[in-house]
Amino acid sequence: MKQLRPRSGGRTGLVLTAAVLVALLAAGCQPSTYQYRWDFFFDSIFRPDGLIIRGVSLTLYIAVVSQVIGVLLGVLGALGKMTKAPYLRGLAEFYIWFFRGTPLLVQISLIYFGLGVTGLYGWPDIGPLGEFGKGNVQAGIFALAVNEGAYMSEIVRAGILSIDPGQMEAAKSLGMTYGQAMRRIVLPQAARVIVPPLGNEFNNMLKTTSLLVAISVPELYVTFSRKNASGSTVFHPFELFLAAAVWYLLLTTVWALVQARIEARLGRGVGGEAPPSLRERLFGLRTRRPEEVPTISGGR
C-alpha cells in the first residue's frame, strides 16, 4: 500500500475560485458600452419575484420527483438485468440500452411532442396541481425519470454485485426466498455502496432540469431566459444568467450538505474511509492526510 503525500488540492480550488470572482468584478469595472444593471442581479437573488420563486420550486420539485422515480426504476432495471427470466432480462437490457444510448434532449422531445402529436398520449394537465401539474411538467418528469432510471440501473447493479455472494447464500440457507433475501439482506447493504454515486446523480439532476427548456417548462433557466427576452430586464444576460448560476449553486450546495449528513449516518457502525469533507465535495478535490492509510474493510 502506497502512502500518498498530502496535496494542497483544496487550497488550489479556493484560490482558483477567488481568482475567477476577482476577474468578474474587474470586468465589471472596465469602461464599456454595456450598461451594467447589478440591481437586476441582486434583486433576482435577494428579492426574487413570483416568477423566480416558481422557477426554483419547479426545478427542485422536478428534480426530486424524477430522482425518486429514477431510483425505483434503477432497482427494477438492475434486478431485471440480473434475472434468469429471458423476457424480463431482454426488456431491462433494451430499456437501459435505449435511454443510455440516446441524448436526453431527444428523449424529452420525443416523449412530449412525439407522443402528443400522434395522440398516443397527449399529456393533459392535472388541474389541482396547478403549475406543478401541467402537461409539459409531467412529460419532463417522465423523461428525466426514465433517463435517470437507466443510469441508476447500472449503479444499483454494481452495488448489488459488490455484496459478497455468501450473504445471499446465508439468507437462503435460513429459508428466505430470493426476494426476501434481496430486500432484507442484500439491498440494505448495497444501499451503502449506492448512496455516494446517487448523491452525484442528484447533483446532476438539479442542473439537467434546465434541458426542459426544450418543452418550455418554466423552471429556473427558462425563467431567467424569459426575463432576458422581455420586460424591464430585457437583454441583460450577464446579470441575469449570473443570478441563475447563483440559484443553481445554492441548490447544489445545500444538497452537498444533506448528502454529507446522509453518508455520515450510513457510515455508523462500519469502519473504512471517512466520507469526503464539504470542501472536497464542492471543489471535487480529495485531500488526504498522510496518516490516513486506506484500509480494506469487512472480513477478518
Partner: protein, 272 residues
C-alpha cells in the same frame, strides 16, 4: 465461556424431532461444474441424532455435497432426501424437475448451515442476525424471537455481545453467533462447512466446544472438518470422500486406527 448448566438446545425447546429415523438419505448423487465431474455417485445416510464427520482431500467434493443437501448447489442426477422429502426437485415421469422457489425455501428452514466464512449479516447486530429469520421467515413475534435469540446467544456464551455488530466481534465469536443464528430456526439437521478453517488457532476451541455440546445434546449433524480431535470425541461415524465418492466409513476408533482403504490411510497419515 459456554454456560454449562443448561443445554444449548433448551433455548429452542429441546432436540428437534424429525419425522423419520433417517434424516438424510443421499442416493447416487452426480454433480458437474461444466465439464468437471465433482460428485460421481455419492451416497450417504444419516440417522437421527447422528454426528457424521466428513473428510477428504481438497477437491474431493465434500463442500459441494454438503451444499447439495440444502440445494445451494443443483445436482444433475441422484436423489437427496431430508426427513423423507426430496430436496430441491420434484419427480415427473422419473425425471428430476427443479422445485418451486417457495418450496425449496421452506425445505431449507429445516436445515441449518454454518459457513466457513461465517457470512453474518454485517448491517445487523448479533441479536438481529439471530432473530432475522425467525421473525421474517417463520413470522414469530418480536418479543418471542428476542427471548429465544437471547437464550441462544447466552448458550453460546455471547449474551454480552448481543448489541455488537459482526465487525466488532472476533472470528470465533462471529462463528458462534452464526451457529446461534442457524439454531434459531429450530432445524432438524445442521450442516457445518469447514467451520473452523478460517479461524485463528486460539479461536478454534471455542467454536468446537459449542459443536461438541450440540452433538452431546443429540443434534443431527454433518460436519466437513479436518479437526481430528473433534472427530474422535464427537463423531458417531467418519466418512472419507475421495474423487466424488464415499470410499470408506466407520466409527472413529476403527476408522482412525485401522483404515482399510489405501487412500484413506495415505490421507490420514498426512493429517496427523
Amino acid at each position: 465461556m459456554l454456560a454449562p448448566d443448561r443445554p444449548i438446545l433448551d433455548a429452542i425447546g429441546g432436540v428437534p424431532r424429525p419425522a423419520t429415523d433417517v434424516v438424510v438419505e443421499a442416493v447416487d448423487v452426480h454433480k458437474w461444474f461444466g465439464r468437471l465431474h465433482v460428485l460421481k455417485g455419492t451416497s450417504l445416510a444419516v440417522r437421527r441424532q447422528e454426528v457424521v464427520v466428513m473428510i477428504g482431500p481438497s477437491g474431493s467434493g465434500k463442500t459441494t455435497f454438503l451444499r447439495s443437501v440444502n440445494h445451494l448447489e443443483r445436482i444433475q442426477s441422484g436423489r437427496i432426501f431430508v426427513n423423507g422429502h426430496l430436496i430441491g426437485y420434484r419427480e415427473e415421469n422419473g425425471r428430476l424437475v427443479e422445485d418451486r422457489e417457495r418450496n425449496i425455501a421452506r425445505q431449507r428452514q429445516e436445515i441449518g448451515m454454518v459457513f466457513q466464512r461465517f457470512n453474518l449479516f454485517p448491517h445487523m447486530t448479533a441479536l438481529e442476525n439471530v432473530i432475522e429469520a425467525p421473525m421474517h421467515v417463520r413470522k414469530v413475534d418480536a418479543a418471542e424471537a428476542r427471548e429465544v435469540g437471547l437464550a441462544l446467544l447466552t448458550r453460546v456464551g455471547l449474551a454480552h455481545k448481543a448489541g455488537s455488530y459482526p465487525a466488532q466481534l472476533s472470528g470465533g465469536q462471529q462463528q458462534r453467533v452464526a451457529i446461534a443464528r442457524a439454531l434459531a430456526m429450530k432445524p432438524a439437521l445442521m450442516l457445518f462447512d469447514e467451520p473452523t478453517s478460517a479461524l485463528d488457532p486460539e479461536m478454534i476451541g471455542e467454536v468446537l466446544d459449542v459443536m461438541k455440546e450440540l452433538a452431546r445434546e443429540g443434534m443431527t449433524m454433518i460436519v466437513v472438518s479436518h479437526e481430528m480431535g473433534f472427530a474422535r470425541e464427537a463423531a458417531d461415524r467418519m466418512v472419507m470422500l475421495d474423487d466424488g465418492v464415499v470410499i470408506e466409513e466407520g466409527v472413529p476408533a476403527s476408522f482412525f486406527d485401522h483404515p482399510t482403504n489405501e487412500r484413506t490411510r495415505a490421507f490420514l497419515s498426512k493429517l496427523l
